[in-house]
Amino acid sequence: MTKKIVTICVLVLLGVLSLGQKTQQDKKDISAYIVKVIRDVNMKSPTTGWQKAVPLSKLKSGYEVQTDKGSLAMILFADQSKLILREKSTVTIRGEVQGKEILSRSVHMDRGNMIFNVKKAETEQFRFSSPISVASIRGTEGGYNTGGSADFFTISSGLAEFTNSISGRSTMVSTGNTGIADSSGGMNIRKANKKELDNIENGSKEGGDQGHSAGSARNVTVSGTIGFDPSPSVGNATTAKLDLSPTDTVISRVAFFYRTKGTTQFTQADMSLDGKIASVEVPGAKIQSPGLEYYFAISIGNHTLNLPSGGSGAPGSVNVSKAVTSSTSGLVTITATPVFNPSPVRSFTNIQSSLDLSSVTATLSGVTLRYRRSGDAVFKSLALTLSNKIANGTVPGIDVRAPELEYYFEIKLADSLNAEILLPGDGASNPMKITVPPLTRIAPEFGLLKSKNVGSVRVDFSSLQANVTAVSLFYRKQNDQTFTELILTPSGQVASGQLAAEKVRFPKLEYYTSIRLDDGSTIFIPEDGASNPEATAVQAIQRELRIPGQTGSLQKKVLVLKWSE
C-alpha cells in the first residue's frame, strides 16, 4: 500500500502564509517556504552562508536554494504557487509584496531542472530566468531545464512567453509544447515529448498536488495506527500511542485529549515524543465503560492540527471492556472481562477475542463466541481455542462492520450435564456490544486530475481483512445528477481504472467507492454513498482557441479566445 503523505504541514503552511500577510500597505520582500526536503537541500540568504534546509525553512527575496544529487526541494508561495527543484539545481528567489498583493516575483536558475505550478494573478507575472532565457508566466504549469548549451521550457497547461536573452528572440509556448533557447541566440518551439510531460506530471504528484483544495480530514491518515496498549478495560491503565513516522515535518508537541463516552469534558495529557512516536499513559481511573473518546493535537511550528481532524467535535473512540457476569449453572457463576484487539477496533479488520477464565475453578469443555452485526437476526458461532482456561479466537474482518458488533459467550462446563453458561447472563437477548467505526481508510488515489482529460484512479483494499470480489468507483462531475460506475480492474489487492475525460471537469469530481465482498454484501465508502459522496479537486485547464482571419484591408488578425475549464 502506498504510503499516504500527511498533508498537515501543507495546511499549516497555508495558514501561516495567509496569516503572515500584513494588512499594512508597505512593500516588503516576498516570502516562501520550503515545504518538502528529500535528502540534501541547502539554502543561503544574502548575508549568511550555506546552511541545511529543512521543511518549513523560510525564504525571502534574495535567498538561494540548492539541491544535491538525488535530492529534491519543494517551495511554496502564499498564493499556492509551487516550485519543485530536482537534483543538482540552484535557484535564487526575488520578489516584492505590498499587503496581500504580489508586486513582482522572479526565480533565477543558474542550473538545474524545475517543475512549476504557478497560480494566475491579476497583474503580476512570475518570471523565470537562466543565463540564456527568460520566461514570463501567469497561471501555468510546466518545467524549466537549464545548465547546458540550451534551455528547455515545457508547458503542460497554460501559455507563457519565452525569450532568448542573448538574441532577444521571443516565442509563445502553449500547452503541450517545448520552447528551446540556445546559447547562440537561437529560439525554436516543438511539441513536448512524453518524457518532458511525464517529468512534469511526476513532479506534481511528488509534491502531493491535489489541485486547488487543501486535503480534507479524511485524507489524513497515520501509518502505524493509533494504538492503545493494553486494550482499554475498565479501571486498568492503558498507554495511548500515536505513530507519526511518515510525517516529513518537525513535530514539536503532541497532546492527547480524552473523555469517557457519554460525557462532555475532555482531559488533556501531554504525550512524550520518542522520535516520531508519541505516547502517554491514561490512568485506570479514567478508563470507564462503555468507551473512551479521544483526539490528538499535533503542534507543528506555531500551529496545531487535530487528529481526527474534527477534534473535539468529532473525536475518535475506543471500546472499553468491562467485566461481565454470566448466568448461573449449579454453583458456577463466571465473571470475566472480554478483551478485543486491535484497539481501537477497525471495521473489516479481524478482531482477536480473548476471554480469561483462569479464575473459574470448574472444568471447562469449550467456549463459543456468538456474534452478529447489529441488525442481523442470526448470531454466528466462533469456537474459541481454550488453553490454560484462556479462550482465544478471531472474528473475521468481514463480520466487523459499523455500527456495532453484538456478542455473548457460551461457556460449556465439563460436568455430567454439559451445562452451558451464558456470558453475559442474558445471552442473545441482551448481548454485549463493540462499537465499530465506519470504514474510512479505503480512499481512492487519483492521478493528477485535469479538466476534460482522462484520469486514473486506484483503490488499495489490502487493509481489508475480508475477501473482496469487486471494486467500483461511482463518480460524476460536480452538480451532475447521476453517477457513472467505473468497474475497477483488480491486481492483487489493488484495483485501478481510468475515468472518462468528459466526466472529469473543473472544479471537482464527486465519488464514492463500492466494494463487494464474497458473502454477497456490498459496502460503500463513505457509507452514505451517493447521498454524501466525497469530492476531489480537478485542475482547470486553460484552453485557447485561435482563429486566423483577414480584415477588409487584407490585414491578418488572429482571434484568440481563452477560458478555463
Binding site: R543, G549, Q550, G552, L554, Q555, V558, L559, V560, L561
Partner: protein
Amino acid sequence: MNPSMKRSAPFGIILLAVVFSWLPAQAQNSPVKADLVFQMYDVVYLTDFVDIKSQQLNPNISGIYLTISSSDATLKEKWVCVYVELHVQLRGESDQELMHAFTNNFDMMKFPVLAANNFSNSGSGPVSLRDGAGNYWENSSLRQRLEDMATKNPTAPPGKYTIRMEVREATSTNPNDKKVPSNAQVLGGDAKTVTVQYSTADEVFVEINDPKNGSFFSNLAPTFSWTSSAPVKLSVYEALTNHRSAQDALTGGSPCLVRKSYGDNPDFTGTSLTYPGNAERKLEQNKAYVLQVEGRVATNRGDVMRQSLPVVFRVTDDKVGQMLDNFLNSFSGSASATYATLRADPNNWVAWSPYGNTTLDGSTLTDVDLQNLINDLAKNSDLKIQLGVENQ
C-alpha cells in the same frame, strides 16, 4: 500688336478652324470633295498646337490634315476661297460667335493636301487669311477671355467649338486679291462641332459603388457597379496571402479579369458588370480580390487613365464568422464588444483559412469540431471568456 498677329488669334483654334474648313467644295459645274481628318479629344493641350507667346500655330501638329479633290479628272485648275465662322460655347455659357474671316484665293488643284505647317506663319504661306478691311472680324472680349484662360491653363477651356465653313468661287486668280468676296458663289459648306470635355484629366470622375471595400460574399458571380464620366476598363486582381494591402495586389499580381469598354469589346458598356461565368479565370471560395475601374480620358498627348480607389472584396461562405456571431453576441462584456468591432466596418474581419487553421490548444479543428466546441461552451452560463486579437 501686329494686326495680322491679332488676326491670327485665338491661336490654333482659329487656325485649326482654317484647317478644318475645307469642305466638300462644289465647283460650278465641277464637284469638289474635301475630307477633314482629325481626332476628338476630351482634353486638348493648347501648347501642343500653338506657341502662346507668339500666338503662332505650331507647324508640327500631326494627325490633322485636309484633302481636297475633284471628281472631274480633266480639271486642271480651280480657284477658290473659303469663308470660316467660329462659334464658342464655354461650359455653362451660351453660344457666341468668336470670329469670321475669308482666306485668300488659291488653286485647289495645286494644293490637294493642306496641313498645319501650311498656315504656321500668318500671311507667309500660299493659303492664309485675306488681308484688307472687312475680311476679318473677331469678338475681342471673348478672345481676350480665351487668351487669359490659355495663359493660366495649359489645356483648352472645356466647351463646344463649332466651325462653319463655305467654299466659294474665287472672284479672280489673284492670290493677293484683298476685295471682300462676300457675294462670291458658295460651292459648298459644312459645320463641325468639336467638344472639349475636360480642362484636365483630373476632372474625370470614377468611383466603384459596389462592392464596398472589405465586403465579402459567398457567390462566385458578384455584380460590380460603378459611376464614371468616362468609358472604363475594369480589372480584378487576386490578392495573395502575402499581400498586405490592395496596392500590393495591384502591383504584384496578374489581373484575374479585365474588361474594356472602349473599342476592344463593344458589347461591354454601361456601369455594371456581373462576373462572367465563362471568364478565363473564375472567382474561387476563400480568396480575396481587388477590383479597380479606370476611366479613359483621350487627350492629344495620348490616353490618360483615371483610376478609382481599389476595392477589396472576399469570396467566402463565412461559416466560422456566423458561428462566432451567434455565440459571442449572446455574451455581455468586453469579449462581445471586441468581436463586434472586429466584424463591423471598416475591419470586416472574416475567418480566413488561407492564413492558417483554426486550432484548439494547438490542435487543428474542422468547422464541425468548432461548432461542437461552441455548442459545448454555450451550455456553460458561467463561462468567462477572454477575447484578444493578435496582429500578424
